[in-house]
């Protein structure tokens, strides 16, 4: 197991390297650069000034030198400084990552719990009304883009019902309180979660249906166990195994989704940071984002491998 993890980690180095090279190249191929992005008509800048700024940021060097410099910094554990505000990228991400993880974590958890529960119910009631309506509801859920879902939720819960705040991470200016934070979390998390819950539901249903036909379910029944024990201990435990993969695949798309949701709900996470960085051509921040999300996705996949071996004792990674 340990050696499997080590090997995976070793393998991930060239993978990360590849990701960063490509993203670096693409980021630099974007029209305009950090200096041009800052120019506005109100404060026009002279060519000399622009050149000077470029020099300051190292943008005048050949691309591969820029990349090597960047990699050099990374090897020293330093993600560089933002072109825009000069702050350390590591620090910025350190500040914002928890917010994004909170949002994504809760969304994923809710999606998983809700999706799995409904999926199991749907499977147990296969081809009955409950099943059909859940399936239909699921598909409608899958058909509403994140950004529109966000608006719908705000309309209903913030404007019409006035139950929840419409945006932000906490009430501005109030000292932090968990309750307040959670109230703010509900809508964005729900907007992210609904779509994924529908997906988990589909997979949970399929997984459960598969498990329900297994011989060991019959054995469990033959032992005279309670239906709930049979469903949960014998059924769900096994149905969860394939779901874990879906869980892992959901992560990269969740980062994409959180960019949209953070924008709509003014959630100060790395997604919001990233969008600004793109507009500002703030490549150290873009690269930091890419690196961190890639690492998280990889670690998550490793964690999923681990979870696999916990959930399924047959799996051994050697």
């Amino acid at each position: 197991m340990l050696s499997y993890l080590l090997r995976k980690l070793l393998l991930s180095i060239p993978v990360l390297f590849g990701v960063t090279v490509i993203v670096f190249a693409i980021a630099h191929a974007m029209p305009g650069d950090a200096v041009l992005a800052m120019i506005t008509a109100e404060a026009p800048s002279s060519e000399a000034l622009i050149a000077m700024r470029r020099g300051e940021l190292g943008l005048d060097q050949p691309l591969y030198i820029q990349y090597l410099n960047w990699i050099g910094q990374i090897l020293h554990g330093n993600l560089g400084r933002s072109f825009v505000n000069g702050r350390s990228v590591g620090e910025i991400i350190g500040e914002r990552l928890p917010m994004t993880l909170e949002l994504m974590g809760v969304a994923l958890l809710v999606a998983f719990l809700v999706g799995t529960t409904l999926g199991v119910i749907s499977a147990l009631r296969q081809y009955r009304l409950t099943d059909y309506s859940l399936t239909l509801g699921g598909f409608v859920g899958v058909s509403i883009p994140d950004f529109f879902m966000g608006l719908l939720l705000v309309y209903v819960f913030a404007l019409e019902l006035r139950w929840l705040p419409s945006s932000g991470i906490s009430t501005a200016g109030d000292s932090f309180s968990l309750v307040d934070n959670l109230r703010h979390l509900i809508l964005p998390a729900a907007a992210l979660a609904l779509f994924r819950a529908a997906i988990f539901m589909r997979y949970a249903r399929a997984g459960m249906l598969e498990v329900l036909n297994k011989d060991y379910m019959r054995t469990a029944k033959a032992k005279g166990l309670r239906p709930s024990t049979i469903t949960l201990r014998h059924g769900l435990r096994n149905a969860l195994i394939p779901l874990v993969t879906v869980f892992g695949l959901a992560l990269p798309t969740l980062f994409g989704g959180s960019v949209v949701i953070e924008t709509i709900f003014q959630w100060p996470g790395i997604g919001l940071m990233f969008i600004d960085a793109v507009v500002n051509r703030d490549s150290p921040v873009i690269m930091g984002y890419v690196l961190i999300t890639a690492i998280i996705v990889m670690l998550a996949n490793l964690a999923i491998d681990l979870a696999y071996s916990v959930l399924d004792p047959r799996v051994s990674y050697d």
Partner: protein, 510 residues
């Protein structure tokens, strides 16, 4: 005192860079950091702030500022002439590399400082603790009104310790110490800035307890927040109320909505004049004839625009006898065919306002132009890409606006010779001369002559096809007393400059 909280929506996150490096967020600054003078919100002159008064013995070449006595920085340190000298030097310091440094280009010694042959501005001197003298290269009677208003004064005792190269992104900008009516309390990145009442403010202690500037990236959340009263103001910093939401907000009795607030923003079709296709003035004129601007303003823009046929948004700067270019597609077609326009070639058309109204506007323009045989292909770009496109001239037409509410002179970058990239290859020495003349006097009547003449030329030659001056609907919650009243009386948005808006007099209705 329970003065309450005012929450204002702000659609930017450009706080961390700091005043010296941003072209936005100055509205926030005026509540914490202040300048020597600010523009009066009524737009008719300047208001002494940290400078109590000033004189120019030589008609605009030398200015002597008497500073206000008894002013303290928020940390208790007294404000002195050193702070002023320090701040002016900071703006002009080439190591700081501020986009605002141009504002000081008229000061004696600016060139030397910039090219490294001098270590400070020789033209700026502290005569004593409370007096500062600024000497210019030549007489500029409007220098204070037009240039100094954009300069904030920073605490030398804090920023003086920071190397100029490290100013950008310094922790100071998220923990500012100023002299203004509110004291910087807290900044939560991408969330809000909280500023608290300064009881020692030199123009009188504010009535409000605090102001919270809530930061938003996206507009719909601001509208929702206005509606739920999570914020009190959608003003200029918030980007204005989208036209589509106007009716909705107008129905709410707790809001005052100003549907036609002039933004001082001439909007035009940009032509790449270096491209032969647009060299013929008849082509450019035809485009204006082709577009039913009135219809667009009435419908898509819901009235949010003032038809305009030349550069200046200020009434006094515009001649009365301009060609109106009323909607006339037949005339447009005729002009195009006279000019030998080749309608089969599509026209690359760039724009960067992504809000719905502007997208709809572009749609309408596209449709009108198509009707006369001009086939534009709209392309939405972000600012960096726009600047790149400008820099390498890789576009043909565009849809843009430039803020110049404060003074007609601010229009020069879009029309004077060689003012790349915005002038797009337009050059008429006569126009340049008129712009120069406009700055030679402080008397509006004298200045008006020059600008009106310029407006005529620009109206004829159409280096850009002037469409209208932008109008921004704003909305305010009525429970902040003073806020809506203040904007009701303000003639136009004075683009992006610190405005003395008497915020210390606003209060929350009991």
């Amino acid at each position: 005192a329970d003065g309450g909280t005012f929450r204002s929506a702000m659609r930017t996150g450009c706080i961390e860079m700091g005043t010296l490096h941003t072209t936005c967020g100055h509205r926030l600054d005026e509540t914490v950091l202040q300048g020597l003078v600010h523009i009066k919100w009524t737009g008719d002159g300047v208001q002494p702030m940290l400078a109590e008064s000033w004189k120019t013995p030589d008609g605009g070449k030398t200015y002597v500022f008497s500073l206000r006595h008894g002013v303290k920085w928020h940390d208790g340190t007294p404000f002195t002439a050193n702070d002023v000298v320090f701040s002016l030097n900071l703006y002009a310091n080439p190591k700081v590399n501020s986009p605002w440094s141009q504002k000081l280009s008229a000061v004696a010694g600016y060139k030397a400082f910039q090219d490294g042959s001098a270590s400070s501005l020789v033209g700026v001197k502290a005569l004593d603790d409370m007096t500062v003298q600024v000497e210019l290269d030549s007489a500029k009677p409007l220098w204070v009104q037009l240039q100094l208003i954009a300069i904030s004064i920073f605490p030398e005792h804090i920023l003086g310790k920071v190397a100029p190269g490290d100013i950008k992104g310094n922790a100071f900008w998220v923990n500012r110490v100023g002299t203004g009516p509110f004291i910087w309390k807290k900044y939560e990145s991408d969330q809000y800035v909280e500023v608290d009442r300064n009881p020692d403010y030199f123009l009188g202690a504010p009535k409000l307890d605090r102001i919270i500037y809530q930061i938003y990236k996206d507009v719909p959340p601001i509208i929702a927040a206005l509606e739920t009263q999570e914020v009190d103001a959608m003003s200029y910093e918030g980007g204005g109320v989208p036209i589509s939401e106007l009716a909705r907000l107008q129905k709410l009795d707790y809001l005052t909505v100003l549907p036609k607030f002039s933004a001082g923003l001439p909007t035009y079709l940009q032509f790449n004049l270096e491209n032969k296709r647009f060299a013929d003035v008849r082509v450019r004129q035809a485009m204006l004839y082709a577009i039913d601007r009135r219809a667009i303003i009435e419908t898509v823009k819901q009235g949010a625009g003032e038809l305009s046929n030349t550069l200046f948004p200020q009434d006094w700067a515009r001649a009365k006898d301009l060609e109106p270019y009323d909607y006339n597609p037949d005339k447009a077609r005729q002009l195009l065919s006279e000019a030998g326009w080749d309608g089969s070639q599509p026209v690359d058309f760039i724009y960067y306002y992504s809000d719905q109204m502007n997208v709809d506007t572009v749609t309408a323009i596209q449709s009108y132009l198509a009707a006369v045989g001009v086939n534009i292909q709209p392309r939405l770009l972000d600012p960096a890409a726009i600047n790149q496109t400008y820099a390498d001239g890789s576009f043909q037409m565009g849809f843009f606006a430039n803020g110049m509410g404060l003074d007609p002179s601010l229009g020069s970058p879009v029309v004077v010779c060689g003012a790349k990239p915005l002038s797009m290859g337009y050059c008429n020495p006569k126009v340049d001369e008129l712009f120069n003349k406009g700055l030679e006097s402080a008397d509006r009547a004298v200045r008006a002559e020059s600008y009106q003449e310029a407006s005529r030329i620009l109206n004829k030659e159409l280096p850009k096809a002037w469409l209208w001056n932008e109008v921004r609907p704003l909305a305010f919650n009525n429970h902040i007393v003073g806020l809506a009243q203040h904007f009701k009386e303000q003639p136009l948005v004075i683009f992006n400059h610190p405005v003395y808006n008497e915020v210390e007099k606003w209060e929350v209705a009991k």
